[in-house]
Symmetry: C2
Subunit: 254 residues, 2 copies
């Protein structure tokens, strides 16, 4: 057995009062569906380092606030929205040198909004923009710091959350058609889903969507007017991981 360290206590050879100081920041990956595909909100950096490059919004955690509160504050400052349908912490990043100026550990948060288009337009357009996630993933748009990795992790998290908790409703409005909801899955997962089977999966399980009785207008090309639904309690936020009712199962669920 070697050295034993304990939390809140300096390793041997350190003076406990002289712990290595870090800056702690919170970065928020804000995702939304626009023009049929997944977009992320980026801001352009005004100063060095990485001046002029795109980055995800973020800032220092302040001592009197929790990490969650810091994330909410950042989200509000960027979009004016004070309640994201989904705001989840998904990772911490502390590689040495990730910020050339000092030791910075950042905590990544994922926010899903139902359309920040109008909100972003309110800000200086040259300062903030919604860009397709695909462009970031492809490397078409280069990001400052290690923000590419952070966005990558956030997107992977959404893909998983979409399956296990059904945050899909976070991307759509208060009422929505099943086609809109299906489009979320298709865009995030990059697949084609059978509309008939999709409807069944979603409608069958009580609590996912609730019919409002109303109908939306058909598209200009015609077509039967679709039903409007609202989100059920089953997938409000962060929800129950998929693992279906394991208290019953006798075999291994695949």
């Amino acid at each position: 057995m070697k050295t034993t360290t304990r939390p809140g206590e300096a390793p041997e050879g350190y003076d406990p009062s002289r712990f290595p100081p870090f800056a702690v920041t919170v970065d928020v990956v804000i995702l939304t569906m626009t023009e049929g595909s997944l977009h992320v909100l980026l801001v352009r950096r005004g100063e060095a380092p990485f001046q002029g490059m795109w980055a995800i919004p973020g800032g220092f955690k302040r001592p009197p606030e929790t990490l969650d509160e810091a994330a909410i504050r950042e989200l509000t400052e960027e979009t004016g929205v004070d309640s994201a349908s989904l705001l989840t912490q998904f990772g911490a990043y502390g590689d040495p040198g990730r910020d050339p100026r000092m030791n910075v550990v950042t905590v990544g948060y994922l926010a899903v909004l139902r359309d920040v288009g109008a909100i972003v337009a309110g800000s200086d357009a040259s300062d903030a923009a919604l860009v397709p996630v695909a462009d970031v993933l492809k490397g078409t748009i280069e990001l400052a710091f290690d923000h590419l990795r952070i966005v990558l992790d956030a997107v992977e998290r959404v893909r998983v959350e979409l399956e296990v908790s059904g945050i899909a409703s976070a991307f759509v409005g208060a009422t929505f058609t099943l086609a809109e909801l299906r489009a979320v899955y298709e865009a995030v997962w990059g697949v084609q889903l059978d509309a008939a089977n999709f409807r069944r999966s979603v409608v069958a399980d009580e609590g996912w969507v609730i019919p409002t009785g109303r109908r939306a207008r058909p598209g200009s090309a015609g077509g039967r007017p679709p039903e409007l639904f609202r989100a059920g309690r089953a997938w409000r936020h962060g929800g129950p991981i998929r693992r279906v009712d394991r208290s019953q199962s006798k075999g291994l669920t695949r």
Copy 2:
């Protein structure tokens, strides 16, 4: 639109060089299967605050190392083991006042080991111990700081990982019987699994377990000697989230 902040840059009204300083620590929740149930490695605190209470092992992140490296270092210092079957970051904790002495943000890591019993015994027994996770969850054993929450989150993470990636193999030895493997699922999920169906689920999907051809000794009560398996490549670590073959599916998988 309100104030816009950017990463690595102080919010307005702050002097960038005078960022709020934090201590950054890494805490490791070390889990293992002993005596048929899930256990967590705890250390007893020698100093205030929370002197004499149980806590999870951890310590300061050092500037030149990554968070992952810090977690590996802590794990090694506590157990002498330098390669956990599973070592995953699962959360960051930064509530003000979580450490009464200073601003501390800690990053939680989960380590799964195949049996640290012998290793722990090597250390001073009054200093470190494996305690049943159930006792911690029930509150029978009280933990320092916000370590109860951290352990709670780690356990929930294991439950999910067990389903989506099959880290079950991390709990067992290099070779193992299916009964041992099944015991992991049963202990972590708190369910009873049908041995016959379990075998099929695990053996059917190529790559999960590989038969070694050898057999273990039957228990003293007799019984047919069980086959010995070793872990297949399919669930080495962190593996493929469950969501089956998303490139093919046409409906929503439930």
